[in-house]
Symmetry: C2
Subunit: 625 residues, 2 copies
């Protein structure tokens, strides 16, 4: 069926989809505040033609007069045949979608002077009408395409432009198929495809954040920067160990094991691509560029490179620069000619996921002193001050993901994610509601913070025995301090079937983790020549940052002591940064410049680190609340 939108007509074949879905697939940026649930009534569109019946949501939000004038809700109405859209709920600032989607729509994420980053992607696409050859116009077919690209679209590619043999082999046929109407996908120095007809609206890219544990993929409309679909999966390499060191050991274990690891990541990426195109209903042939971010070890493994030198002194990897290749050569199942860009690494294990985080948070463009903290399986820190950028990594993550914590678990259903002690009552919130089955990172941080505040845990991290507790602590709390074969513990919840407790050893794990982070930013501040109290803003990347109680994190000394409103959670900043580098060549270039601009600090080599670490394991003594 045909849909006329404004002055254009589109052929679509997605029977049953809502108008909003169809328009998104065609590349329109719609404003859907309630995300298409029909609850806000904001997505009013004037539509005529063969349409589905009015829904209850539409009757609620549209006046009789509006209904009479052909208004519907785009998220509700389903075109059944040819129709014509006269007005639709367009987004005014399309460009901001890059950031709004996926990262929290926090003002801190909005680029101030950063509008140049919202410019053209590396791969552009233009529909042109190539003139037919004649005795008066004998230009070669490729020149004919390039000249027309210049005259019709104003795009002058490099003199030494690259066109593959495969492309040249089908060039004439592609031009003749629709009588000279073709769409050219190109980077500055390379023609990626010449497709028959006008396919300019089908212009997609994929971005990936390859984490040690999780791989996340994003399908992006390169015309608008809008994210069309996301998909994620567990990194199949976990079969060789949850942590990087186990995988590096496996990689060195035999001749072919580096290739095994490479194919595992590639197969995950290829499956995500399938899932993304199927979710968004776009063709695989219209994906022209993939941008990949990951920690140094992951990007090395993705390329099948040696990683043993990363794990042994002096911890030196192979590849700091960005890596560009044709997707098919690298093993990504994309169309012939599609490009792939692996973002550059910073140093040691601090890789392109951190650079992507810097891009997403605009850390390098902020005034004052700011700290970016990405807590995943590893912890990466970047300190920015006066135009300088220092980065380090700490082995801080596992405790926050539930590892080495007796009843620890990831932030999934059944996890205690928040704990408050109110008088003698212990109140907590369980993810998904119901009875708790364990405790996740944010719950751990807040539980310890509360126990510190009331004096059940002392500044050294010791869980006091019932006899040592001060008098003002009532019996309701005292009875929760118990001992079992695992040592002293504080019971957060118990009934006849279940107990969820915090053990002395869990507090020690948290001390190690928060000590490592705290020592990390202390060393960075010292190197930078600023005091930790000078830090103006703390940017928290990673899911943990979205859920942790900021006050509690400050109280236990895991974050610098800044105002709560100066602590900004970013969500998956690495994914957001990778999507930005996909949607904008300027952002891609900025990532490449940042790799050389950020100085990597090896904590193991810092003379003061061990002292800082020992000191930082102690909790701050001023815990007044």
């Amino acid at each position: 069926m045909k849909i006329e939108i404004g002055t254009r007509i589109f052929e679509v074949d997605s029977a049953g989809a809502t108008l909003a879905e169809l328009m998104r697939r065609l590349g329109f940026s719609l404003d859907l505040p309630c995300n298409g649930r029909g609850s806000c009534g904001k997505c009013k569109a004037q539509v005529f033609g063969s349409l589905s019946e009015l829904t209850d949501a539409e009757r609620n939000h549209l006046s009789e007069e509006e209904i009479g004038s052909g208004f519907r809700l785009a998220c509700q109405v389903r075109p059944l045949g040819d129709c014509s859209v006269k007005s639709y709920p367009s987004v005014r600032e399309t460009s901001l979608n890059i950031l709004v989607d996926g990262a929290r729509p926090d003002s801190a994420l909005r680029p101030d002077g950063g509008s140049q980053d919202l410019a053209a992607p590396l791969v552009s696409k233009h529909a042109i009408q190539v003139p037919e050859p004649s005795m008066q116009d004998q230009r070669y077919y490729l020149d004919r395409v390039l000249d027309t690209l210049e005259t019709e679209a104003g795009v002058a590619l490099a003199d030494r432009v690259h066109a593959s043999r495969e492309l040249l082999l089908s060039l004439q046929r592609s031009i003749e198929e629709c009588r000279g109407k073709v769409t050219v996908a190109h980077a500055r120095d390379r023609i990626i495809s010449v497709e028959p007809g006008d396919t300019a609206l089908q212009h997609y890219g994929v971005a990936f954040d390859v984490g040690t544990t999780t791989v996340v993929g994003y399908l992006v409309d390169l015309r608008t920067g809008v994210q069309l679909a996301t998909a994620s999966c567990t990194n199949p390499q976990v079969a060789h160990g949850a942590d990087l060191v186990s995988r590096i050991t496996f990689a060195s274990s035999s001749e072919g094991s580096r290739e095994v690891l490479r194919f595992e990541i590639l197969s995950a990426l290829n499956e995500l691509i399938q899932e993304l195109v199927s979710k968004a209903g776009v063709s695989h042939r219209h994906i022209y560029h993939a941008v990949i971010a990951g920690n140094t070890c992951m990007t090395h493994m993705l390329l099948g490179l040696e990683t043993s030198t990363l794990a042994t002194m002096p911890y030196v990897g192979l590849l700091g620069r960005s890596y560009h290749d044709e997707a098919t050569r690298m093993g990504l199942e994309l169309r012939s000619g599609a490009l792939v860009s692996v973002l550059p690494n910073i140093g040691g294990f601090v890789g392109s996921d951190t650079i992507a985080g810097v891009i997403a948070s605009e850390l390098d463009r902020r005034a004052g002193t700011s700290l970016l903290l990405d807590l995943g399986t590893n912890g990466e820190l970047v300190l920015s001050s006066g135009g300088r950028l220092l980065a380090c990594s700490t082995a801080a993550g596992p405790a926050f993901e539930g590892a080495h914590v007796v009843q620890g678990m990831r932030g999934t259903k059944g996890a205690i994610e928040s704990v408050t002690i109110n008088g003698e009552e212990v109140e907590f919130r369980v993810i998904g509601g119901g009875k708790p089955v364990g405790i996740c990172g944010s719950g751990l941080v807040q539980a310890v913070s509360e126990l510190l505040r009331v004096g059940i845990v002392d500044v050294t991290g010791r869980l006091r025995g019932p006899g040592e507790l001060e008098e003002h602590i009532g019996p309701g709390l005292v009875q929760r301090v118990q001992e079992d074969s695992r040592g002293r513990r504080f019971v957060l919840f118990s009934d006849s079937q279940t107990e969820v407790c915090l053990y002395q050893s869990d507090i020690r794990e948290l001390q190690l983790a928060k000590g490592a982070i705290s020592a990390g930013f202390s060393v960075l501040c010292k190197r930078m020549g600023v005091s930790c109290s000078n830090i103006d803003t703390v940017l928290l990347a990673g899911a943990f940052g979205n859920y942790v109680d900021k006050a509690a994190a400050v109280r236990i000394g895991m974050l610098p002591g800044v105002d709560e409103n100066k602590i900004v959670p970013l969500g998956n900043a690495a994914g957001t940064g990778a999507r930005m580098a996909l949607a904008s060549e300027a952002a891609l270039s900025r990532a490449e410049q940042l790799a050389r601009r950020i100085t990597y600090v090896e904590l193991g080599n810092d003379p003061g680190f061990q002292d800082e670490f020992m000191e930082a394991m102690v909790f701050p003594s001023c815990v007044a609340d």
Copy 2:
């Protein structure tokens, strides 16, 4: 064994080679006026060490005192063990070797303002000492190489530099093999190889001129621009027809025939590469770049592209731009990472061999009006005037290569290459001496010119019968005019076994050929708005130009009527131009710019061409000598 030259020491293992040969392989440019035959005595070198006995040539050219001081002739003396070269016969202007070698050392070939073309090649090579990683220096291996390239060699590559996965896989091993001493071969945006040790002197490239009939290869030292070896072979595609149209017909005959033609050229190029490295005694691994020139049809067939559109109206090919690829992907058997550049085409059949000819002849930089004429299987013409350049092609070649001429042959042993009528005597020169067996192009031109001069052939090209000849023509000549079943003929030579004759039909063939050429430059002059009499210089590319008698060619109207000393033979200008583009990136870029600057003129489409052609078939009437 070791050879010390100046302040450097080289390890060589070419026992039995002369010092001159060894030094050439090491990249030194030696001045060997007699080309190493020992006859000029100019290559005096002061050498000490284990050397061969004095030869007779050395005793002839060296004084007792010189012998006592350690002087030898570099082309005669053979190092037998370690030795030390204190002085050697170096070439003062190394850069000019590019042109001197292969093309005639004609002053017209020397670039006037063209010194920028003698700059660095696309691929450079630098030996560097990469510092070892340490806890104080944890840069990634690739960054370590790139940084050192910048600090030690002053070479800053692009931020978005390309390094292949294959290179990265062996990078660490390459660096460690010689304790950090590596040699990097690179283009501006790409690292081609990182080799252990100092191999900066082993830096070679190959250039090819792919002709319809012959393929010529050149091995060039990219450090100096010196040509180290040449090799040539017949284009294996001749099996599918001597001319382009037969091959295009074959290419369209079945599904796989384009691939057959592609593999045939590739196999010829690969065999030439083998021959070149073996002749020069260099390693195949040290060839980093290949530059290829050829006519449009040959470059299309080399890439396996469709050529049928070149042979049918409106005669439009696919690829005008230069084509760059990795050699191994294109099918050239060079080292992994080596680059190949196919020079750009101009229009129709006028291809990159003509562009290479323009580069070699500096046609685009000449003052006044100049004509470049390349006579091979086809004839290509380029007219340059006031900064404008026009090109066309004519089906002019075959007669000059012996085709369609009754006793025609190529310019090989036994061919009459020159004819003079002296009174009643017919004098001629036979290639290789001895009895003639046929006549080649230059002989044909001169024979007709002489017959015109004495009046045996009239201006319409008619061979007069014995009864029609004027009285002053003596009986010795008259009796040579005979008839047989093939028609009227002029006997150039006869004895009891052999006759070599020029037939009326041969003169008609020549008239067609010279008419096409003459009409070609007439049309170009008209389009340019100049008169043919304004042409200041005629540059003759191709072997034919080296042998044709200039005066005779002017007399029959095949060349514009300019002074003989303004007619400059260039030899294989296409090969020279390809070598220049190999030795200098500036020349490569100039070729790319020229492809867009030169306007292609389709003669078949020119309203005046047929008239010009008919007129030009007549010989000039003023044949006074």
